[in-house]
């Protein structure tokens, strides 16, 4: 039989007749007690050794306890000084006794209170008188004796009352430890008699070791498997991309196709098609990022005409237009899109992928640009989730059902639909939902059924419902980030991105 060196040494040191503690054996073998314990259990598993455990109380003196054991308990020193000064006959002034007993600082109070407790005498008006106690033996104070016993590891014989007292005086500490002791089993004895050899231990597993077959006869050196390993990060998809992909997965699963299109676009696609009047406050220069490039020539003329007509005259026999100026030059001006609804307009008009027949579902998760002030919850550019459903007939209930389904995928339930106003949808709803963590009611999107004034010029003759939501808002809800700038943009904190928890 081959055993690792530590196990072999332990097996040889153990006895079949005498129980030995692991601590004893470790000292005997000059090994680390933890290694001996481990070896003992491994041998026990082989049936060669029996391991017993019991809980033992260890009592040790504190620093103060050790000091009193050397120099004497303060009250005893006071008692002795008093006896020497003749206080057993008449009162002796305290100050003198404190000096004689060499009491200092807090020891004075300790001496006085315990002097009184032990009934050594009376302290009155700064003078000490010893009680008349013929049985008193200065060398037989139970507490002093207990200190001595603890120091000599003989605490087991002591009365627990004395130990409690000394513990409350802060002179000793009691701790519980598990003591393991071992004895050789019969199999262990047999094995030893048959002869046990030490096995070779190796570090690395090398190709030679494997090919030579030597691996069958070696033991592998143990590692401290609990020690810290080097920190490694690996690569990670950005948390906002991850969230975007999660949204895309959900939407594709619900039958939506993805749209793409230009970030810089004519205001015509961004706003005019959406029936946003040209003098709408959101279209003023301080809300949009106008680009310093020539106006866009390439717009479908017939569509431009129909959109202008919708703005000026409305749609249908009972429709009214806006009483706002409409200038084709403004419609052709190029700006960074303030919403990805510009893509929806391109797709619905048939100019992105050809004419669309109902039913259709489309979405995009792309960046939009708003001339806002940067703060923890606002960025100049952020991702907008945009989606729409086209069908012959859609009702508000279909809209509610679609969004209830979508938001439930993200743990947001109990949707409320607050009637709202958008120039491009009617009816319109702000969506509110219950925060998955706090239960608070929060705004989670804007939605509605596209107006006739939007759809009719685009040539769409059925119903289209649409909604939008900032992806960053969903991210902050899902992850609880407080400052979006830590995540998105060049001010991001690499540590945060490296350590952010994975969600799926």
């Amino acid at each position: 039989m081959r055993l690792p060196e530590t196990q072999l040494a332990l097996l040889e040191a153990a006895s079949a007749t005498e129980t030995k503690t692991v601590a004893q054996l470790a000292e005997e073998l000059g090994e680390d007690p933890a290694a001996v314990t481990r070896a003992a259990f491994e041998l026990a598993e082989e049936g060669l050794l029996a391991v017993e455990e019991h809980v033992a109380e260890t009592v040790t003196l504190t620093e103060e306890g050790r000091r009193y054991r050397e120099g004497g308990l303060p009250e005893l020193r006071l008692r002795t000084a008093a006896a020497e000064a003749g206080a057993d006959g008449s009162a002796v002034e305290m100050g003198q006794l404190i000096g004689d007993a060499e009491l200092d600082g807090p020891e004075v109070d300790i001496a006085l209170s315990n002097f009184a407790r032990k009934g050594y005498g009376e302290i009155d008006g700064g003078a000490v008188t010893l009680a008349d106690d013929p049985t008193y033996d200065p060398d037989a104070d139970p507490e002093a004796e207990a200190l001595e016993a603890v120091a000599n590891d003989e605490a087991g014989y002591l009365d627990s009352g004395v130990l409690d007292r000394l513990e409350s005086r802060g002179l000793l500490e009691r701790t519980e430890t598990t003591v393991r002791s071992v004895t050789l089993t019969d199999e262990g004895v047999t094995a030893l008699m048959e002869g046990v050899e030490a096995a070779e231990t190796v570090g690395a597993i090398t190709p030679e070791l494997l090919t030579s077959g030597e691996w069958t006869d070696v033991e592998f050196a143990e590692y401290n498997v609990e020690a810290d390993a080097e920190t490694t990060y690996g690569g990670k998809e950005h948390i906002l991309r991850r969230t975007a992909n999660r949204v895309k997965d959900v939407l594709v699963g619900m039958g939506f196709r993805e749209m793409e299109g230009p970030h810089a676009d004519a205001d015509f696609w961004i706003n005019d098609c959406l029936f946003m009047p040209q003098d709408h406050p959101a279209r003023t220069h301080w809300d949009r990022f106008a680009m310093d490039v020539p106006p866009m020539e390439d717009l479908p003329e017939d569509l431009v005409e129909r959109v202008e007509d919708a703005h000026r005259n409305g749609v249908g026999p009972d429709g009214d237009g806006y009483h706002s100026p409409w200038d084709e030059g403004f419609a052709r001006a190029v700006a960074l899109r303030g919403h990805t609804t510009s893509l929806s307009m391109r797709y619905l008009s048939g100019h992105a992928v050809g004419d669309l027949e109902p039913p259709q579902r489309y979405f995009s998760v792309q960046k939009v640009y708003r001339n806002d002030t940067l703060d923890p919850t606002h960025l100049l550019e952020f991702f907008q989730i945009e989606g729409w459903v086209m069908a012959e007939e859609l009702s508000v209930r279909d809209l509610m059902g679609t969004f209830t389904e979508f938001y439930e995928q993200f743990g947001i339930t109990d949707l409320e639909f607050k009637p709202h106003y958008n120039p491009y949808t009617e009816p319109s709803f702000e969506l509110f939902g219950k925060h998955p963590e706090t239960g608070e009611l929060i705004e989670i999107g804007n939605s509605g059924i596209f107006r006739e004034e939007v759809l009719s010029p685009l040539g769409v003759e059925c119903d289209v419902m649409a909604w939008g939501l900032a992806l960053e808002r969903l991210l902050m809800l899902m992850y609880g980030f407080e400052d979006i700038r830590d995540v998105h943009g060049t001010l991001c904190d690499l540590d945060l991105l490296r350590n952010v928890e994975v969600v799926y």
Binding site: H263, S395, G401, P419, D463
Partner: protein, 618 residues
Amino acid sequence: MPVVDVDPEELRTLAGAEDKSDEELKSDLFALGLEFEGETDDGEFELEFAPDRLDRLSVEGIARSLRYQYGHDRGVYIPDTNDAEWAIEVDESVPDERPYVTGAIVRGLDLDERRLESLIQLQEKLHATMGRDRAKGAIGVHDLAMLKGGSPGNDTENNGPQKTITYRGVDPDGDRFVPLDDDADRTPAEVLETHPVGETYGDLVTDLDRYPAIYDDIGLFSFPPVINGKRTEVDEGSRDLLIEMTGTDQWTIDRMLTIVCYALDARGGQIEAVDVRYPDGTVRRPDLSTDTKRLEHERIETTLGVDLAGTEVIDLLERAGLDAEPEGEPGRDETSRADAVDTDVEIESVPKRTGSPDTAPGGSTDAPAGTDEGPVYEVEIPPYRVDVLHPMDLIDDVGRAHGFNDLEPRYPDVSTVGGRHEGSRLEDAARDALVGLGFEDLLNFHLTSEAELFDRMSLSPDDDTLGGLEPPTITEPYSEAYTVVRTWALPSLLSVLENNTHRAYPQDLAEIGLVAAVDESEPTGVAEHRSVAGVLARTDASYEDAKARVAAIARAFGVELETPPTDHPSFVAGRTAEIVLDGEPVGVIGELHPRVLVERDLELPVAAFEFRLEGLAD
């Protein structure tokens, strides 16, 4: 979104809701779409709402909506209007840029401090919304007692009003008047220079040859859209008011006037008409005529997704402050209303604002209402409803009155096939490859500054190399840090390195994102691309490390990589190569130049690459 301050006590009184607690009131307001945002120091509610129902810009209008909600009022209400005693003459000298005026008189008001404040607030909020900061419409309110009417001009018929004021143009340095909050008489030009309000709104008139002004027999008393004269200032003692509005659109100022008239009517004022005499004809104002729209029953049901009885629809419309009855059958009135008016007469009295009612709409030409399509309602809309452009706006009213949240959600029974766009699939596949190579995927702003793109990279927009392109520029940027769209992505990654020098190395960062450049050949004038960029910031980073990774990506996508030497000002000469994928030059790879590193306070070498994503496509 507009915010209106409303005294809850006053709201209770006007709405007949004395017994409502603050919480009940807030909840009722929320149901109308008015969100409680907080309280002012004086304990007034700050209510925020979407800018459609501009008739709710004052406590009187909000109270009116609540009264309908509570059922205190039903149907359309039109205030009574007395005949005109006053006229506004529009002179030929009126500036062409601001040709329109309208007006009304309201008599017998009992204004206290709060009512006056409410009127001023309504005026300000209307300026901010419909009035587009006074550019489209500006309101002046005057104490009628302080005005002296002129004699009627050329009106020979002598049956019109006898008292006139005149809207005309004035030389900027012409007539003088004492403006509000001032003590000296000034010319309009002086007002613009010296008066704080003049400085704020001066831009609206400075380009005009003649400034707009309104005169009575005594002289100039109003300088729209800037400021009124002090002489006609309204205070708590004013009982009779002249309200005038000027602007660039007649409809807009007429509707603003209507909203003010309804508010003052709710305060017990008596409205009196004013004749506006344009050179080519006279109109009588305020125009409190109603509009009528046809609403198909079936369209209500398909939009809301519920079945409704005809009587129910009419009830809901009346609770929304509208009147309705089935078209073509005024006799067979489904409703319980006993006072149904003759709809034909109503319709004729309504001026059609748009188009001509050429053909009978909705395919119900030869069949009266009540056929397969279900009934069609004639819905009468009060003049303060500036938001109703189309019958679908009335369906929204029906839905709100019905309660949208009482509708049961249902998943639409519509099948479609979902899928990702090819461009976004390619981007994701490339990102997976980068992450597999150990890169931390980043997401940076597309907007940046020229200093970041060029100066800090030792690059010039004229350099014919990666990043050396004319960036699309924002015409009126707010912040110096964000003035252009980036032409390349490496500067963003270097900024992240710069901001994270206290974090553990190695820092291997990558990004796939938008880059753009001015390009006349593109329809939008802007060429947009997805760019793949990576940096390896590590103590032993070298050209080889970067190339190994680019090569791994090229292999993964089955494209051939060549790296002929090239020069780029951001990289070390002799350690820079062009990235050529399947024969197309698409980017640059190399070791960044120490001057670029030192500029970013980086104390270790950085190997980097950037190339167009389309280089990986099939």
